[in-house]
């Protein structure tokens, strides 16, 4: 088991390295750098001004060198300005250049400087992850029990009227992308046109002070999309378990139906949905980006959109590192959890 986890962590690191390099390469293409220079300086810069801006800020070194600096395995760049002052990757403009360390990359715990927010990347990522974490917590609290109940109710009597109604509901919710359901919810519950106005159409105020009124719609939008899929998986797994021999035996023994469902079937039926729930995390990440943009909730997904549309290289890299780790860790957990839940499978 330890060997398996070790190998997976190794693959994970390799994946993260390759992936960040791809992001690094794409964001460091010249047209992208030009856009960065123009947003940092002004939009009417000539080509020479762009080149000198990029050279002054160390953007024109070869990509592998810059990548090494970002990782912290190569010393950071320094350039000397016209008046003899040193500028450099590791040099803080407020403190003397001599005190600056030679290496400053993620290995030294320095995530770099965001060009959009003009602060340290590490701080931004921490804050935004906290905000998105809160959103995800509520999504999970709503989605997982909801989906399991739906799935179990639908699956315990396959083909019944309850089953068909709930399955239709589940298909409809998975078939409706977040940008559609979000728009619909805002239209119905938050706009002055329909007049219900039960909830707020933006979740900006939920960043400081989440209440039911301003936080429920974003949570519901993400939860509904994932819910249908998990519910269908649970239903399939439940329906299969209900046809098993031991369920028939239990019925013949005269065990009551609720007892059969709760004590005999449920535990076996929950193995498959567990993996699905874990694998939903990467998808939720996707939904989070859309919903945070739609509801203007300035969390992790919103940061991704800001970083990507402004070509904020170091922020974007940090965002991709975090999301890769989320994706790969959930995969690992789902593999390990599967082994514990289902003794017939072994990883070795």
């Amino acid at each position: 088991m330890a060997k398996f986890i070790l190998r997976r962590v190794g693959v994970m690191l390799l994946t993260a390295l390759c992936l960040t390099f791809i992001v690094f390469f794409l964001t460091n293409l010249y047209p992208n750098l030009e856009k960065l220079a123009k947003t940092q300086g002004n939009f009417r810069m000539t080509d020479e001004e762009v080149a000198s801006f990029l050279g002054r800020n160390g953007y024109l070194q070869p990509v592998p060198v810059k990548y090494g600096q970002w990782l912290g395995v190569l010393p950071g760049w320094t350039t000397e300005a016209g008046d003899g002052t040193l500028r450099g990757r590791c040099i803080d403009p407020d403190s003397p250049a001599e005190d600056a360390p030679r290496f400053c990359g993620i290995l030294q715990g320095d995530w770099g400087h965001s060009t959009v927010f003009r602060t340290e990347v590490g701080g931004i990522i921490g804050d935004k992850l906290g905000l998105t974490g809160r959103l995800m917590l509520w999504v999970m609290l709503l989605m997982v029990p909801g989906a399991l109940i739906l799935g179990v109710l639908a699956g315990m009597r396959e083909g019944s009227r309850t089953d068909r109604t709930l399955s239709t509901f589940a298909i409809t919710t998975t078939a409706t992308p977040e940008y559609v359901s979000g728009v619909l919810f805002i239209a119905i519950f938050a706009s002055s046109a329909v007049g219900l106005k039960w909830f707020k159409g933006t979740a900006t105020s939920a960043m400081e002070n989440p209440t039911f009124e301003n936080f429920f719609l974003p949570v519901l939008t993400i939860a509904l999309y994932g819910m249908g899929y998990i519910a269908r998986m649970t239903r399939a797994s439940m329906a299969e378990v209900m046809t098993a021999q031991y369920i028939r035996t239990a019925r013949l023994k005269g065990v009551s139906f609720p007892n059969i469902v709760l004590k005999h079937a449920l535990r076996n039926a929950l193995i498959a949905p567990f993996t699905v729930i874990m694998l939903q995390f990467p998808w939720l990440l996707n939904g989070v980006v859309i919903v945070e943009t739609l509801f203007n909730y300035k969390g992790f997904g919103w940061t991704l959109v800001q970083a990507a549309s402004n070509n904020d290289i170091e922020l974007l890299l940090a965002v991709s590192v975090v999301s890769v780790i989320v994706v790969l860790v959930t995969q690992l957990i789902s593999d390990i959890g599967y082994v514990y839940l289902n003794p017939r499978i072994s990883v070795t």
Binding site: N32, T172, V194
Partner: protein, 397 residues
Amino acid sequence: MDLLSWGEIILRMFGRFMPVWIALAVTFALSITFKRRLGLYGKLFDSPIGMVGFGLVMFWVFTGILGGGFDMILTHPVLEQSASMKNKVPGTPYTKMMGEAAEGAYPYYLLGGDNLGRDVFSRMVVGSWEVIKIAPFASLFAFMVGITLGLPAGYYGGRLDTLLSFLANLILAFPVILLFYLLVTPEIVLTGIPVYMAAVLFIFPIVFLVLLWNSRFHTQPKTRNIYVGITLVVGLWLYSGIAWNADPLGLIGFPPNLLVVFVAVVFVNSPTVFRIVRGLTMDIKTRDYVAAAQTRGEGTWYIMLWEILPNVRGPLLVDFCLRIGYTTILLGTLGFFGLGLSPESPDWGSTINEGRKLLSLYLHPALPPALRAAEPRSGAQPAGRRSARGKPARLSI
């Protein structure tokens, strides 16, 4: 003229969709009459759910083709703006300028006007054409790539499998939206990267077909040469036009911003297909008929393409139907973030995004495309599941 009531709007919309109803009726009549001879497709018409799903999907397919391709259902030109029609409610009489009735034009904006005074109904109809042009082909290309790489990975295993699986997992580990933000920007189009990606991805269908014919007919060189020749001539002609925009005859071209959307969607979808095909191949290759083919001394590509592939068609068909729906959502997402297609484009995602800015005041510009975007996908699901009944539809990924 007065505002139309909701009953009149619905009646008039029903009327505008008349060509679609006729096409649907013809399709259903023909399919149900000959359903016993149509194999898997005919089975769809044995269940009400399958028929409803198929009907929903075909409704939008016909709307797209007839409305977008042949200009039949539209009431007004998609890009035409009218100063007096800004944010008007559904059923408003059409006037070009304030107070002036338009000559010869359709007298109403059936679903109202958007913030630039364009007709929401027409934009919705043409929006379905945008989706129909891209989604099925992108899914098809993703399948070609996934199958051509997934079969050998599953069949040979070993180093090849490790390498290809690592690459597939690498792409899958990307959050889709980040990938789109990196790939589908005007700056990236400038660097030419999408063209190179297209050059790599679009070669797979040709490779796939050549391998398919060659492995089947290599004992009959004459037949083989005909098939491979036709594939190469047509394939390379399309390839030069689509990927490099260098068609020698000048007939086929691909607008660069459409190409980048297409490439990105294929690129995102193919790793998943690869994993499915690989998993299924690993399962099927231990079967007796594969062993029999190996003993007969058949070539490996023959075994993969003509023994294994036909036997995994059930799950692949299901996935294909679902993937078209998924691609539709992806396209909508792209439009929603304003990536790819041009800002004037009437595709559903962009329209939703434009409409939502005014959402709390004016409902109508965002709602029809939003409802439409959800519909084809809910239709595709039952249709896909139904068509795979009777086959061992086990998806082991």
